[in-house]
Symmetry: C2
Subunit: 310 residues, 2 copies
């Protein structure tokens, strides 16, 4: 079987091919380059694909996206409607993201930064007891990742709410859905965590009026996509002391440019898109299993709903 590969970073492609071979998939790899004629490949495995690369691929059954967010694929105007777009399902990423968020929430609610400063000053400055109830947390997006985060925080004792497009239920979590539940959800989210997929509907969701609906002294944690956040609106809210701070792992431009205003803002903590790094070995094992299932005539799981965009 012919498989078409593409990533802007060619070293990645070599690693993918080598890992996929170890999973026992027999295939002929074709690496896409601008201008090559249609290859007739049956499958494609891609990250950050280019416009036009699937135009004449009439034999293509499925495109595997290496990652959970498929918005780069969805934006391609030339993506044929009959081809299944398949995203990674978990592969360890949900646990990594849950850990990142639990670390960030603890860092904020326990005032760990103040302890680090006190340490540098050789100061012993215990803060008064703060109950979990003082830190209600809200998770935007209740897919595999959001559910894992919500349950982890709830299990520690945080009051946790969740919000999603369609109604969900989750033990110990107050679930809100759709536009109706949004305001009530935001009003009780002192720490707001974004793990929504990026779609035309969710782009710039972290913006006014959302910010104005949060409780005072609130925090934003964004580990989804930089395009979810209106960066200048966040900076204004922080300057106005309406939002106390933000933990950001994703940005509109990555790497974050050296002259970006976020770097020197003491209320903003920056990590370099590492919250949910893909375990590439687990990812290739998952893709191999899906290819084998497809070749055996079985259905594919993780297929993106084109209308919803995720």
């Amino acid at each position: 079987v012919d498989i078409l590969f593409y990533s802007p970073d060619s070293q990645r492609i070599e690693r993918w091919i080598s890992l996929l071979r170890k999973e026992g998939v027999g295939f002929n790899p074709i690496v896409w380059r601008p201008g090559i004629p249609p290859t007739g490949a049956r499958f494609a495995i891609v990250r950050l694909p280019e416009e036009g690369m699937f135009g004449g691929e009439n034999n293509l059954k499925a495109i595997f996206n290496v990652g959970a967010g498929v918005e780069a694929l969805m934006k391609l105007k030339s993506l044929p409607a009959h081809i299944d777009v398949v995203r990674l399902e978990d592969s360890g990423m949900a646990n990594k993201m849950a850990e990142y968020v639990m670390h960030a929430v603890a860092d904020i609610s326990r005032g760990m930064d103040a302890y680090r400063r006190a340490h540098r000053g050789r100061s012993w400055l215990p803060a008064p007891y703060a109950s979990f109830d003082e830190w209600p947390t809200g998770i935007m997006g209740l897919g595999v990742i959001g559910r894992k985060i919500a349950l982890g925080l709830a299990n520690l004792g945080y009051p946790v709410s969740g919000w999603s497009r369609s109604p969900k239920t989750l033990d110990g979590v107050h679930c809100y859905a759709g536009p109706d539940g949004f305001k009530r959800f935001l009003a009780r989210s002192r720490v707001l965590v974004n793990v929504l997929p990026l779609t035309p509907e969710t782009e710039n969701i972290l913006d006014e009026p959302l910010f104005s609906l949060l409780p005072p002294d609130s925090y934003i944690i964004n580990i989804a996509r930089g395009e979810h956040l209106n960066e200048s609106a966040l900076l204004e809210r922080i300057a106005g002391k309406k939002i106390a701070g933000a933990v950001l792992d994703v940005f509109r431009t990555e790497p974050l440019p050296a002259d970006h205003l976020f770097w020197d803002n003491p209320a903003i903590r920056i990590t370099p898109h590492i919250a949910g790094t893909t375990d590439i070995q687990a990812a290739m094992a998952q893709i191999a299993a899906k290819i084998k299932a497809h070749e055996a005539g079985l259905g594919l799981t993780g297929v993106v709903d084109r209308a919803m965009g995720y």
Copy 2:
């Protein structure tokens, strides 16, 4: 009913009395001072008690210790054997300690300190993917607190072992017990978390030969008592690069003296005994419930086994 109170910090006592009244316990408070004659009180509520304070208290039924660690009470030579010593059972502390440890383990295993340094230098330096399997974690002590920590870490995906005096079982956790299991437990604990009670048997347990039995590049997290740790032995192991670092919340002398060698050691992170701060309101509610139960002729829970010392 007469209740005897003592803490080195008299402001704490006022707060305890006021909270206990709100719980609907009718009582006459007596604050212990050196040299006062026996009071005939039925209960005592204490923190860091003084030698001799219970000598002539023949009417005393139970001493409530405000905290989980009762070693200061156990050390009193004048403690009458017939009096029940009662320790706090959880009151939210286990969740706080689990959160502290999960934060510390994430901080270590994800290299969060490197990201904070990179941020200060405006550098975008994502680290390679590290699987949870690279960070096997061991919990010494499997009481309420240790179990909560072990399950929280296992639920994220860490390989977790536990060690306790008597055999325990815990879903998803490799449990070891007694002297026989100790070496095997240590050999698989790259991050070693101590939540043991402080007894003559566990004092200085974090010392040689324990350190020599850990895997290379290991980390120590101590949130139990400073007396568990041989501080100079730890510093030697860190200097020899055999132990990579430590997260310490408790110390032999607290506050940690300004000239202590720990402050400037870059491998050691210090917090001021805040991992499991007692929720004093929940603690007094718990003690009130126990007093009411006792007055109604019911048994006490959380009574310390004098032979075991916890």
